[in-house]
Symmetry: C4
Subunit: 366 residues, 4 copies
């Protein structure tokens, strides 16, 4: 395999809108890697519906509300955030940029929000933490069938100061991602955490995502929540929830947060848009624990609608990946700043001064 | 900046339909100026939905109603109108034509309806009034943070005989208009009222709309309604209302009219089509004050549907702009005449002889 | 004006489906004439929706119903019909073929169904009757403001043996047909009935449809029904009904039949699909008088759905026009035969042996 | 007629997704034959809606369900199946491959599921049975008007060990398939069972499907069910049911299974998507007899949705035909294996370990 040529770009981006980054990244990246990052499962109906679904509800603007300078600050688990947007976990930032997760971490920290480091990162857990310079970070666990690995990686996360563990619950198997099938994409770079733990088990390099997931634990269960929480003494966020029943079961089993997501449409195709299931989940959770929402957000208005439908914070991964690819640290920051600009405008025009006010807003569902 | 070349056309237009004017204007105008006039906010979903939404309700034609020659005459605040269409306020008619608002005012007066002069006009408030030769006109106020300016401009409006003040409530910040972002559009001509008041503060020339709005008052509040009404002794119409709650609050705070509009989809994207929120607002207002409706009207049938859904008069701006660009005074008149022709045909075929009868019509919502 | 070159084709047509005839006719006819025949009003939304609306309801096939050879025979006003399809009235068959209405009448008669001759035909009322060789025909009246003309033409219809008068109620003004506006279409041939009555008033030649309708009576009223019925002693069918209220009023005023139609989307744009209003009208009429349905039918399945929704017989005009243009008498017959074939297949597969059984079928509305 | 050149391919296929096979087959087959296999009735609305309809319901993924290795095994009439997918009957496999049904039977048997042999096969009933090497098979009867033929063919089916008779109820006449009309397709190969019975009646060679169906029994009735059951002592499955009423009538008349199908959209156009009528039929049947479902399934997720909506097993024909054409025995096996892979992934991600669990799943209808 020829050596993978990752981007080395370092620049502030002039961003018209986040969707417009995709063709630029496509032209700037090896097709297989781009397909892996951009693609969804099977027909990509669920992936596309994720974004289309935001049109199912409208923001009714309120006027003459005597406000200016909307404030995007909020908090999660007591962690103050400069924006209600956090970084959604994603494998292999090294595909986007030679310094991968290190630059993402640095940029996200500079923007005052949370980086979610993946088990399948190309940089070490501890190095990502250092790149964040003490900013709060979450660690996303893909559980292994080897509990030795799970303990080893969680030990590092705890030692590195991560503030919560994200348990990926929706990847007990790899979704059928046709872009990867068609390009024959295999990870060109080692998953460094896997490599460090045991050379025998392999680093993931030269495998595709289905093969990597195949080494992970499939029999994920509610008991894993408490096991992780007890082992780490950290809040556990269950990521990949799409039903009120699972949300309530996870909370009952010790989850400190619910991450409503369908993995950006990359796992189960034929499932609902993540936004469409959010209101019922939020209604069931009823503020017992915070709700993080992802899947399909590309606009400030999308975030507004998710927050108004029960999310406490929102997240995305692909746009940050695109920023990383096109501009490194400053590229990621440009993406967050652009998002913040759109959300600020939306809040002002909707007549909402605070994130709390956004959450109180009633959307018009059609 | 090269000097802006505005149209000098003076001609009657042969109009097939108003939508067909847009490509003609696009070919006839500098791209940045055209983008500013034509474009909407962000994805332009709300802008497009504004017109699509008229398909949500259908006019059930009534036959054998023993009528001919439908009568478009109506009135607003006791002002007799030859048509239920008035001119919606819009900044910078100078982009469309070298004589800008003067020609619009002249044409609108000749067609027996109301010109709405904008704070951000390229012609002086008093000159626009004179160009109307005594025809009734409204003045649209973009409030400044500088109350001195507000008083100065309102004084002129009163002195010039304007009949009502339109308080723009939905522009406490500029919408994110991607066409302007992409073209880097800046106003090539001075906003003459700003220029007159104070050279220091600038005329708007060389700024984009977000920068201009940034100089305006963001903390618009209900109290502004009565302040303007008391200062001018003129009826105040609150423009940009999209919810029954805001309509009722504005009336409670002294509004003499409610202008249902989402600024033609140029402010908040992700909001509902203006037509879709009209019936509930009308129901709440319940004829306490007149309702003016805009956003998306391009056809006589659209106007019919808005009138049948609670509007007392309707308005649009872009088609008049297009007429102004392509034909000056006669171009604007051609647009109004074409609209009137379509509305007349619709009324006859729907079996409605008067605007009052149109208002009594029940649409078929699907 | 150069002499109009009408088709002289005489041939049986191999028809795949009726929609496929349209491009053939387009290639075979002067653009203005084709635009007049094919086009609808304004945006053509209602015209397109007419056909799309048949997808709003589905035929649930019934199996093992012990039947074969479905029988298309039915009757209207006691007139036996070989098919539930009759010819919808349309002006100026001379545009399609040099022998115009004479060939249509001959073909329709041969197929055992009813020709509807228009006031605005290119052949004389009496000649059309003769061409039908005694087959039952209806006469469609566009009322004139000149009662002399109305009496003169009705006298001819009665004398020629027409069996019913169709009062066109939805054309008190010409719809705004953009194809005609764009091509500047004017009728190249005289409306022979107009010409015969008075050379002074003109034959319609050199006028467009809006100018011709402008000479017609606009103040159509319920009283016209009884006036025509009394004068002719023939059943009067009111054509252009789209609401239960108008249907009931017409019956109350003496109508012997209700023709549910929106003139093929050629009059009021922004109105509902004719099929969508049919069930409520049928429910109100409740079999007091027969219902004829047109607008949008291009398939046997469409006719089935209309019959199952309350129509007693169905009609169309454009496909017959296309058959006339491409093949004269045999072309018209080919169109009817193809339609009959599709309807027969639909009936058999739906499990309905008779037209009466079709009418008893419950569709699945979605 | 030039001799038909059928495919002789024998190869395992690399399948991205089943829909992607269609263009490959189109390039590999004579246009008329491809049109016959791929095409649907009239506008193909029902055909397209069959697949679109699966988007009407969504699978809500369940997480942390403590499961792995979902099990696709199920059974039908006590016959164990390795997958809930069976082969839907289809005429003339010889169009796809020189060994036609023999290879399909062999492949289906190897994959542990059921072949449905058609009356209109190109291989003899007995030979197909032998090619299955004892694997369970069903025989699909197109009833003839000649009871002699019916008895003769059923005798063979019984003698050859077929396990059930599928009575095709929705083909009492051929649907109007425009692809066949346009290409003038006639079967280039004999229907061997027809040929064997009587040379006089013809083998179907040189006829189109409408002509072949025309020789079949049209007056299919409920009494046929018991007649076949009594004659064969085999369970009779009624295929082509789209309504609860027909399902209950068939069961009352002795049916041992209900096959919900609209013949892949090849018979009645303008009918509902088969998936849309499934829930109500399942609700009425209420597990009295098993339900087989086909029409539109192209994905594992579609099968999941059908099973979750009341189907006991699912079926398709076109994708198997495509596999047969492109790869013979191994091609058919590749198709089944790919389908199984998709269904396995869907089941794991949905949180369902068994087919029984899939059936208990509640979909989210929108």
């Amino acid at each position: 395999m020829a050596e993978y040529q990752a981007s080395t770009a370092e620049q502030t981006l002039k961003i018209d809108d986040l969707a417009a980054l995709e063709p630029l990244v496509k032209a700037n990246m090896e097709p297989g890697a781009f397909g892996y990052i951009q693609g969804g499962a099977e027909t990509e109906w669920t992936m596309a519906e994720n974004t289309r679904a935001f049109d199912h509800a409208q923001i009714v603007p309120r006027v003459l509300q005597d406000l200016e300078n909307p404030d995007l600050k909020t908090s999660l688990f007591g962690i103050p955030l400069q924006t209600p947007l956090i970084d959604a976990p994603a494998a292999a930032h090294g595909l986007a940029h030679e310094h991968g997760e290190l630059e993402t971490a640095s940029a996200v920290a500079a923007e005052g929000t949370i980086m979610s480091a993946s088990t399948y990162s190309n940089e070490r857990v501890g190095d990502i933490a250092k790149a964040g310079h003490g900013a709060p970070q979450f660690f996303q666990l893909y559980m292994s069938n080897d509990d030795g690995f799970n303990h080893w990686i969680l030990d590092q996360a705890v030692a590195s100061g991560y503030r919560a563990i994200i348990l990926t619950a929706d990847a007990s198997l790899g979704g059928y991602r046709e872009a990867d099938v068609k390009t024959g994409f295999q990870f060109p770079l080692p998953m460094i955490n896997l490599a460090d733990y045991s050379a025998n088990d392999g680093s993931g390099e030269g495998l595709n995502i289905m093969q990597i997931y195949a080494k992970a634990k499939r029999k994920l269960s509610l008991a894993d929540i408490d096991a992780i929480a007890s082992y780490t003494n950290l809040p556990v966020i269950v990521k990949g929830v799409q039903s009120p029943a699972d949300a309530m079961a996870a909370i009952g089993a010790g989850a400190s947060g619910i991450w409503v997501s369908n993995h950006g449409g990359r796992q189960l195709d034929g499932g609902p848009a993540s936004f469409d299931v959010l209101p019922d989940i939020a209604s069931a959770v009823n503020h017992q624990v915070p709700i993080i929402f992802d899947s399909g957000i590309r606009r400030g208005e999308h975030a507004f609608k998710a927050l108004a439908s029960g999310a406490d914070v929102v997240a995305f991964a692909r746009p940050l990946f695109y920023g990383l690819n096109l501009g490194g640290i400053d590229g990621v920051r440009s993406v967050i700043q652009h998002f913040n600009q759109e959300l600020t405008i939306t809040m002002q025009l909707a007549g909402t001064k605070t994130i709390e006010a956004v959450k109180q807003t009633e959307l018009l569902w059609r």
